[in-house]
């Protein structure tokens, strides 16, 4: 799938990483919604299905039908996806790279030998992205000098190249699958209080393999406020998902060749909701979901045509497999799960299955293999996840019962296990909050996203149901989850600033063993370096600090002051 996931933002190769934000993400909340809930109260549903978010207003959609557990007419709050709020280090096959905007240096740590080296970047290095390919390479944005530095490490040798004339204000990267093109663009969501007159149209295409005599950069204008980028499988086209539609860029000619509308009527002037658009890896199709709509629209970006799949209720989430072969959409209120194929053409039909009785499914997370999906809801305190098996035959669903409410789930790439996060137990007599947060009358029909409760426990759940999940109470709020690309381990990182509790839990599959490694400073990013079989947790420290966790033994090794480490000079080395 090509939806801008946390993994892609972080550019962490081979690892599934999620840094949980403190505040609720409002990604899927209706625009202009008001009021906040915020209790674990029993809500208007059953006492054992309390709402996480509380409700405001009355009427609107209900959560009762299609075999799902209903809530008796009161609307449920929106599903909330959780995404990264941090600029994080990135990991390539053997190295972890991190930028120091103050010193202007990039430190790169050999995750096997744990040796640190540094290299000067431009002025104010910030956003960094992995450049796919066989080499350990990254590209970094230098925000003050408006240029970019390409770095490639091979053993102890590092090569670099600087590309100038990057569009000012760029803060995000998108890199083509073949590692040749990098696009620097501005994500407006990272800029506080940006006026509507700022369109952030400028994007800079960098040809990382350009001849030395070629500047290698070209700045273009795409639609209003791009939200994500995708590439065609052959890296010849890039797609900018903007509020004006999808801007199609030819990387060969470095030009915008078309803009494809995503609106219901195919008109570019339609108000676009760009926050849930997935583009298939081949760049052919865009899968569009809009809040409150029962339709999933699939747009052929080459032809400019579209088809519509209609579910039985408002679609609350849609996901596309990594290979782009299929997609899964869920309508929480009706318990409708739609599976559709995306084999090169826009689908016209979907296979519908009903969520099992007693479950609510508002979110879907397809595994890397695309053969398994985890369905769940964090709009209610449900202690179940639903596993959707997508084999050659008909889609099959089964329930995995957990021992605490589900906040989010992170399946392993092989689809055999998942890390499921849980909040603290609900207060015994909590009541739902009614009315608007300002005390005034609630807006009819509006259900607002409330801050998600912090995750304080997690389960390691076998998805085939042959083994009961293991639940583990963490010693603080869980801030990040990283799943090994080998599907054999996961890191769950905890940060409690008030109590100065920091640590990471290593969960091991299939044994479900959990090992704890305390940390000495606040974690800011978690990931896995697959080539070294080590997880890492970057931490706040004036000199830089990173802890590596062996995925085999759980042994922790912390490097602090890695810019100091780079000042070690072995004069016997050439």
């Amino acid at each position: 799938m090509t939806k801008p996931t946390a993994m892609e933002r972080a550019g962490i190769a081979g690892a599934l990483v999620l840094v949980l934000s403190c505040a609720a993400s409002s990604e899927n909340s209706p625009a202009g919604s008001t009021g906040f809930g915020g209790t674990f109260g029993s809500g208007n549903g059953s006492a054992d299905q309390p709402s996480f978010g509380g409700t405001t207003g009355a009427g609107g959609a209900t959560a009762s039908s299609g075999g799902s557990v209903g809530s008796g007419g009161a609307p449920l709050p929106p599903e909330q996806e959780v995404e990264s709020t941090y600029e994080v280090p990135v990991a390539t096959g053997h190295f972890v790279w991190t930028a120091n905007a103050t010193s202007g240096r990039i430190a790169y740590v050999d995750a096997t030998a744990l040796t640190v080296r540094t290299v000067e970047a431009g002025d104010g290095p910030g956003a960094m992205a992995v450049v796919p390919g066989t080499a350990d390479a990254v590209v970094v944005l230098n925000t003050l000098s408006n240029d970019a530095t390409y770095l490639q490490a091979s053993g102890t040798t590092l090569t670099s190249r600087t590309f100038s004339d990057v569009a000012p204000g760029s803060n995000v990267w998108a890199v083509s699958p073949d590692g040749r093109f990098a696009i620097a663009w501005t994500d407006a969501r990272q800029i506080a209080n940006a006026p509507s007159t700022q369109g952030f149209h400028e994007v800079t295409i960098i040809d990382l393999k350009a001849a030395a005599t070629d500047a290698g950069t070209k700045t273009l204008a795409v639609g209003y406020r791009p939200a994500s980028f995708a590439f065609s499988a052959d890296s010849k086209k890039a797609y900018a998902v903007t509020e004006d539609g999808v801007s199609v860029l030819s990387l060969a000619t470095e030009a915008v060749v078309s803009t494809v509308a995503l609106g219901a009527d195919g008109v570019t002037t339609d108000v676009e909701d760009t926050r849930d658009v997935s583009i298939t890896p081949d760049g052919r199709l865009a899968v569009v979901r809009r809040d409150g709509s029962a339709d999933v629209r699939v747009v052929d970006l080459d032809a400019g045509t579209h088809t519509t799949l209609t579910l039985s209720g408002p679609v609350t989430d849609v996901d596309v497999s990594n290979d782009g072969a299929r997609g899964v959409a869920v309508a929480r209120d009706t318990g409708d799960v739609a599976v559709f194929t995306l084999a090169g053409t826009a689908p016209t039909t979907a296979t519908h299955v009903a969520a099992p009785t007693g479950t609510i499914v508002g979110q879907v997370s397809l595994t890397g293999s695309g053969t398994t999906a985890v369905l769940y809801s964090n709009a209610v305190a449900s202690e179940r996840i639903v596993v959707l098996t997508l084999g050659a035959g008909a889609p099959a669903l089964h329930i995995v019962k957990l021992h605490a409410a589900v906040l989010s789930a992170f399946p392993t790439p092989d689809g055999k296990f998942a890390v499921v996060l849980h909040p603290a137990d609900a207060p015994p007599n909590a009541q739902p909050t009614a009315g608007a947060a300002d005390g005034g009358a609630a807006d009819a029909g509006v259900v607002a996203a409330a801050p998600l409760p912090a995750a304080v426990a997690f389960s390691l759940a076998p998805l085939d149901g042959t083994q009961p999940p293991r639940i583990e109470m963490a010693d603080g709020p869980i801030r990040a989850v990283a799943v090994s690309p080998m599907s054999d381990a996961a890191l769950v990182t905890v940060r409690d600033d008030a109590k100065a509790i920091y640590g990471t839990y290593l969960g091991v599959f299939p044994s479900l063993e959990v090992k704890h490694a305390p940390l000495s400073s606040p974690p800011i990013a978690t990931g896995v370096v697959g080539g070294a079989k080590r997880g890492y947790v970057a931490q706040q420290h004036p000199d830089g600090r990173i802890t590596f966790i062996s995925l085999d033994s759980g042994d922790a090794r912390t490097l602090t002051g890695y810019e100091l480490g780079a000042r070690v000079v072995d004069w016997s080395q050439p």
């Binding site: 305390p518 940390l519 802890t547 042994d555 922790a556 912390t558 002051g561 100091l564 000079v569 016997s572």
Partner: protein, 533 residues
């Protein structure tokens, strides 16, 4: 032990006779620096360019052997075993018409470990045109390192980063000149690491500390380029200045876990350097880690706890110690009963046979009036990161801890400076026996055998010996003021005390050190004026 002696009486006498054709040396005051070796007291007669080695027979009679030294001795040192005295001489450059012969810099070794003192001289002329004036000795006794201390002024041009490594096991010393790479700093302190298990095998490192970096040089391969650890770069506003360096070999079976620990002046962070495998010629590379311990530490030490190796840092002002896990940089703060500033490991030598592998540390130099010393057992008990913390109530501030060798290794002698009291600390019983002195500012000399401690007040004629095991004190009254005390082995297999006096051309009184009896004392005079004893 070194003591400086000058005979005023002899000076007057020689001044009166100071004319005629004798060498000038006979016209100068007799003065000497005294050094105690295993079986000899060596007097370095600077003016006469010689050393006089005094050895004792079984009955306390002294014999003197005189050996000429090189010209212009700029540095002296006794090895850690107390067996040899090293004298580094600058030599002399003869000019046209000069009556003194040309002489190369040299390192003279006086061996006082046998019944008769012997000497050897290592010619440094092949590696030094101008002398270096600093001398440091490896505790294992294998290497001597010469460096430019700057105390005696330099040559016309001096490279302060030049070292000369002398292999004392080689007949000619095989001196090797090494010029350290420098980022502008110059050596300020040399630290010899204990033998370390590194990827390349057993290695002896010389850690050269400058004001802005550390250099790690393999003494086993002085021709191999060193590794420099820059403590700050050009962009840094401040440069952490090292205040203390400690070294630990880690698990003897591993070659990747040796560590160097550092604390800095006016810096709340401590640093560890783990010496890990590397593809360079040295075979290892240091990986730094820094940890803030919450205050400027006054002392650090590597200690073993039930949880593994830790770097312990005493943090004055916080009444606490901080244990740093060098692998994870996690810290554990341990509240202490006082503001201790110094730490010494006093783990029993048979600790390996006990169930716990944790160290015991002695904390001292605490706040006056409350601190005493504390035994800190670094095992772990339920709910706390140490097994016990036991204070021994000494009211005076302990200013130094003297080790006791051989027979009483479970004891320490605690000096309180000018407080008029010292203590014999029993590490096993956790007791501290106070021993009061009528005089203040006394000097304490622990016998090399560890059986007793000698006490004297420079300039006074009283002397006392205290049996460390029984705490029995015996006071002795000598005939002249004592300026130095040395206990040496004698030719009869016993022990002889040599008390030096600064009169009569330097004199000495000898006593049976094991059973001192004033009635059987022997007095010697004019030790520097030939003919005696």
């Amino acid at each position: 032990m070194k003591m400086s002696l000058t005979s005023a009486a002899l000076a007057l006498g020689t001044l009166a006779l100071g004319c005629g054709g004798r060498p000038d040396v006979w016209s100068r005051p007799a003065s000497a620096n005294a050094y105690g070796l295993s079986n000899a007291v060596v007097l370095h007669d600077v003016n006469a360019q010689r050393v006089v080695a005094l050895t004792a027979s079984g009955d306390g009679a002294l014999s003197a052997s005189s050996f000429g030294t090189g010209t212009d001795v700029v540095a002296t040192a006794v090895d850690s075993a107390g067996a040899r005295l090293f004298l580094l001489s600058a030599g002399h450059r003869a000019m046209l018409g000069d009556t003194q012969k040309n002489e190369a810099p040299a390192l003279m070794v006086v061996d006082g470990s046998a019944a008769a003192a012997t000497t050897r001289t290592i010619d440094l002329g092949g590696v030094l045109s101008d002398p270096l004036d600093g001398l440091a000795l490896d505790p294992t006794g294998r290497w001597a390192v010469l460096y430019a201390s700057g105390v005696h002024g330099g040559a016309f041009v001096t490279n302060p980063n030049e070292l000369v490594v002398v292999d004392l096991t080689a007949a000619d010393g095989a001196p090797v000149s090494v010029s350290l790479h420098s980022f502008g700093g110059r050596p300020e302190k040399l630290v010899f690491a204990p033998e370390l298990s590194l990827p390349g095998g057993k290695t002896h490192l010389l850690i050269v500390e400058s004001e802005q970096d550390l250099s790690l040089l393999e003494l086993d391969h002085p021709d191999r380029a060193e590794i420099t650890v820059r403590l700050a770069d050009a962009a840094a506003a401040t440069t952490p200045q090292p205040a203390e360096i400690v070294v630990d070999d880690g698990d003897p079976a591993r070659t990747d876990d040796a560590r160097i620990g550092l604390r800095f002046v006016n810096d709340t962070s401590v640093m560890t350097l783990q010496l890990e495998p590397s593809s360079g010629a040295n075979g290892y590379t240091p990986t730094p880690n820094v940890t803030d311990v919450g205050g400027v530490p006054s002392a650090i030490a590597f200690v073993r706890t039930d949880g593994g190796l830790r770097l312990a840092a005493l943090v004055p002002g916080h009444d606490s110690a901080v244990l740093v896990d060098p692998a994870t940089t996690l810290t554990t703060t341990v509240a202490l009963p006082a503001d201790y500033r110094s730490i010494s490991l006093v783990t029993p030598s048979d600790a390996a046979s006990t169930t716990s592998s944790a160290d015991t540390a002695l904390l001292w130099n605490g706040d006056a009036g409350q601190a005493g010393v504390a035994f800190w057992e670094l095992g772990q008990a339920a709910g706390r990161p140490f097994r016990s913390l036991e204070t021994v109530a000494i009211t005076e501030r302990v200013t130094s801890v003297l080790d006791v060798a051989k027979t009483n290794t479970t004891s320490k002698v605690l000096s309180t400076g000018a407080a008029g009291v010292f203590y014999v600390l029993d590490l096993a019983q956790r007791t501290a026996t106070p021993l009061l002195t009528a005089a203040t500012n006394v000097s304490l000399v622990v016998s090399p055998t560890g059986t007793r401690v000698w006490t004297f007040a420079p300039g006074q004629s009283d002397l006392a010996t205290t049996d460390i095991a029984t705490k029995h004190v015996r006071t002795l009254h000598l005939d002249a003021a004592v300026t130095g005390v040395f206990e040496i082995g004698n030719g009869g297999g016993g022990r002889t005390l040599v008390a030096l006096h600064a009169l009569g051309g330097l004199g000495a009184t000898t006593l049976d050190a094991t059973n001192p009896d004033e009635d059987h004392r022997k007095i010697f005079g004019a030790l520097l004026t030939e003919g005696t004893p």
